[in-house]
């Protein structure tokens, strides 16, 4: 498959709905996709809808991040009017309150569903609690979308396992320099998973991995891209233009949830809980700084990265709190870093390009 064949979120949504499929809009970040798939429901993730901020301004203070702002803008613009439910995983204070704002004050057109992700350091009780959360969500999904079809969960787990393999393959090939695509293409394809059903997405990903050249990506300095999500798009284009090799990422929307250990056999809820608890470290789940630091150093070692670019969404507390200690630890390990503060709907522009260029020169 060539990335040009990848259809857009809007088109895919229309096709899915046109075929009578059910959709659940999902706000960031981690949630048990398998449960939605098991019900035959398409999770449509809302990360950075490209809308001009207008209506949301009247509801949010200027110090709220652009992920929340854009998500609310989409909701207020009627972009979620045709979904069967809206799922709000518990990720951070801002998304927590956004969920309550929508549910309690803004009269949503579809039922709101909530999912509390336990926070680290995880107590032993976290696993049982996660299972109880899954059971509650299952009941809610049944209420809204009807019961799971027979074999629904078994199929969903199979998709999940296959996707886990494919994501791992994409990341390891890239880290080894055996995936000759730039950052823009890599993330464009991987972000397909945010809105495509695995039935369509798995073959697409398989085709892409089979046809992608083994070399020919950026030849310049190897970096790790850390932060919330690979956005705005011109950031990725700039990285490609400057010849950076993104050998790995540590993004909330990407490797921190895509490189999950595949759910094992046995009780599906237990398997999903174990998978969640063993995901890569993430600020939004409360992972310790030493765990995050070791993880980052490991990624850099494995891919031969020379530095780290932190692309932090402005006002994102979970990321901003971790930043100084991570940078200090990376520096001690001989890994310089650069911080770019971004708004997901605003181009990073020339100034960021200049800073990236200087960073690249410093690394060489």
């Amino acid at each position: 498959m060539s990335p040009s064949e990848l259809i857009s979120r809007g088109e895919y949504f229309s096709q899915w709905r046109g075929g009578g499929g059910q959709v659940c809009a999902v706000f960031p970040a981690q949630y048990p996709r398998e449960l939605l798939w098991a019900h035959g429901v398409l999770p449509m993730e809302v990360w950075d809808p490209p809308l001009a901020p207008a209506r949301a301004q009247g509801h949010l203070q200027p110090y709220i991040c652009s992920v929340v702002r854009q998500g609310l803008e989409l909701f207020l613009a009627g972009g979620l009017d045709d979904v069967g439910a809206i799922l709000f995983p518990h990720t951070c204070d801002s998304l927590q309150n956004l969920a309550s704002l929508v549910e309690d004050y803004l009269d949503p057109p579809a039922p709101s569903l909530f999912f509390y992700n336990p926070k680290a350091p995880f107590a032993a009780a976290a696993k049982g609690f996660y299972v109880a959360q899954l059971q509650t969500l299952e009941r809610e999904l049944t209420r809204v979308f009807g019961p799971q079809p027979p074999e629904g969960m078994a199929r969903a787990l199979e998709w999940s396992r296959r996707l886990s393999e494919l994501y791992a393959q994409a990341y390891s090939r890239r880290a080894a320099g055996e995936l000759g695509v730039g950052a823009a293409e890599f993330y464009r394809v991987l972000r397909g998973g945010e809105y495509m059903h695995p039935r369509d997405y798995i073959p697409l990903l398989e085709g892409w991995l089979a046809s992608a050249p083994a070399n020919g990506g950026g030849q310049g300095q190897g970096i790790i891209l850390s932060g919330v999500l690979p956005s705005p798009p011109d950031l990725l284009e700039t990285l490609d233009e400057l010849g950076f090799r993104v050998v790995h990422d540590d993004l909330i929307s990407m490797s921190r949830r895509l490189l999950y250990p595949p759910p094992g056999e046995g009780d599906p809820y237990e398997a999903l809980a174990e998978s969640f608890l063993s995901m890569p470290p993430c600020s939004t789940r409360g992972s310790s700084l030493s765990e995050r630091l070791e993880w980052l150093k490991g990624l850099a070692r494995a891919g031969g990265a020379q530095g780290v670019v932190f692309s932090v969404v402005k006002f994102c507390e979970p990321e901003l709190f971790d930043l100084p200690e991570l940078r200090r630890g990376l520096k001690e390990a001989g890994l310089p870093s650069l911080v770019l503060e971004v708004d997901v709907n605003q181009e990073v522009g020339g100034q960021a390009a200049t800073r990236l260029e200087a960073f690249g020169e410093m690394l060489s």
Partner: protein
């Protein structure tokens, strides 16, 4: 714990502290008294006692290391567990408020920013980290903690902040994870919190070097409950017309229920405060001399502006008689029940305002408007505090519309006055005053 450190702490308690307080009193006696402001009624007599209690708490804390296990604790954590193990507790948020009131916010925040912490982060956290890096504090010196005790029932921010401290200090971080109540509290949530409490006790015991005594815990939990109940009763005296204190007084008198909850000194203090407030109500003594309008405050105080705001509103015969913030330490205590200690502790701490949905907040504020005969609402949009602030614009409009009372939002911060535009706030307040006077 070392014997010599224990002896030193005892010595300072018995001799050093009284001497220090005498000296402070003597010095104060030499200062010219502040001229009385005719807009205010007589000041609360027990303010002096409050000052003594808090001075004592911070002063003795510096002698605690080695004598008692020291914990830094978030304001919504179930401190009763620590009290039963004799921890000396420091509340960085209370310290942040103190720094804010002393107008040290920007200086300490800048010290954190120099180390790479963004100026967009909560300023209680920046003040605390700034103190951590620079050692500066109006409290003289804070003891280094042996353990960090954190509950995310007020925000996730405290988890991120305490993680930094745990990493820098290499000490245990104990988290009490309280799932947010999007609707009614669930049995699964209570079970999760109960299990966490049972799991954390051995960790706390290890740092404290002693076994957890259930009987003692239950006694202290009862003490904590009566303290919060007394605080609630103090606030309820403000239903009277004229109200015997202002919410600006309450912001200050809140310190013991936040920082010393579960200790006899806090309960005793609120008995004195309640007696004084009741007496004032009986005698018709108001906090302000000419109470014409009664207001409600939403969110944490603007600590560097408490006095200025008190004067600004009092000059117009406006008194703040209720606040969601001060109410938070009384609102859920009725759930604490020693016949079901763990479940009830979980409920008490899980149902606090910031761990509860915005529908709950709206309902609570409507109730308070009625019970306290509130004529207008001032909403502080606190840049530091996303869980308190996100949703306020709609909250304000809904309340104002439903109850037909004027409301205003002022954009400010809790301690960092670099993010406060006095001019903009005054412009908004002038329009609010006009609407209120016309109502």
């Amino acid at each position: 714990m070392s014997l010599s450190a224990k002896a030193r702490l005892q010595f300072m308690k018995d001799l050093g502290l009284p001497a220090m307080l005498r000296l402070a009193k003597a010095t104060k006696g030499k200062r010219a008294p502040r001229a009385a402001n005719p807009d205010f009624g007589p000041p609360l007599k027990c303010a002096a006692r409050l000052k003594e209690i808090m001075t004592r708490h911070y002063y003795l804390s510096r002698f605690a290391p080695g004598a008692r296990p020291v914990a830094w604790v978030t304001s919504g954590a179930p401190v009763e567990l620590l009290r039963a193990l004799d921890f000396y507790t420091i509340y960085p948020e209370n310290h942040g408020a103190l720094c804010g009131a002393q107008k040290m916010g920007p200086e300490l925040c800048a010290a954190a920013e120099e180390q790479g912490y963004s100026s967009d982060l909560c300023s209680y956290a920046r003040v605390d980290l700034g103190h951590f890096f620079s050692g500066k504090t109006p409290a003289g010196q804070l003891p280094k903690p042996d353990l960090l005790f954190c509950s995310n029932n007020i925000c996730q921010t405290v988890v991120y902040w305490y993680k930094v401290l745990a990493h820098r200090l290499g000490i245990p971080l104990v988290l009490f994870d309280t799932p947010f109540n999007y609707g009614e509290i669930t049995e699964a949530n209570i079970a999760y919190m109960k299990e966490q409490i049972l799991e954390m006790i051995p960790v706390l015991e290890k740092t404290a070097g002693k076994a957890f005594d259930m009987q003692r815990f239950m006694r202290l939990a009862e003490l904590s409950k009566s303290t919060s109940q007394l605080w609630g009763q103090c606030l309820e005296t403000m239903r009277a017309r004229p109200a015997p204190m202002t919410i600006f007084d309450a912001f200050v008198h809140l310190a013991p229920v936040v920082s010393l909850r579960g200790l006899p000194v806090a309960r005793d203090y609120y008995e004195i405060l309640l007696a004084e407030l009741t007496e004032r109500v009986g005698q018709g003594i108001g906090a302000i001399t000419n109470e014409k309008k009664r207001l409600m405050w939403d969110n944490i105080a603007v600590w560097y502006k408490v006095r200025d705001f008190a004067e600004l509103f009092a000059a117009r015969g406006m008194n703040f008689v209720a606040a969601t913030y001060t109410n938070a330490w009384a609102e859920t205590i009725q759930h604490l029940d020693m016949s079901r200690p763990w479940e009830s502790l979980a409920k008490t701490y899980s149902l606090v305002i910031l761990n509860n949905n915005l529908k709950h907040r709206l309902g609570l504020m409507e109730k308070m408007v009625r019970e306290y005969s509130v004529d207008g609402l001032v909403v502080h949009s606190a840049r530091s505090c996303k869980p308190y602030s996100l949703g306020q614009y709609d909250l304000k409009s809904l309340l104002s519309r439903r109850l037909g009372i004027p409301a205003v939002v002022i954009e400010a911060d809790i301690t960092d006055y670099r993010f406060f535009s006095e001019e903009q706030a005054l412009t908004r307040l002038e329009a609010f005053f006009e609407a209120l006077e016309a109502a």
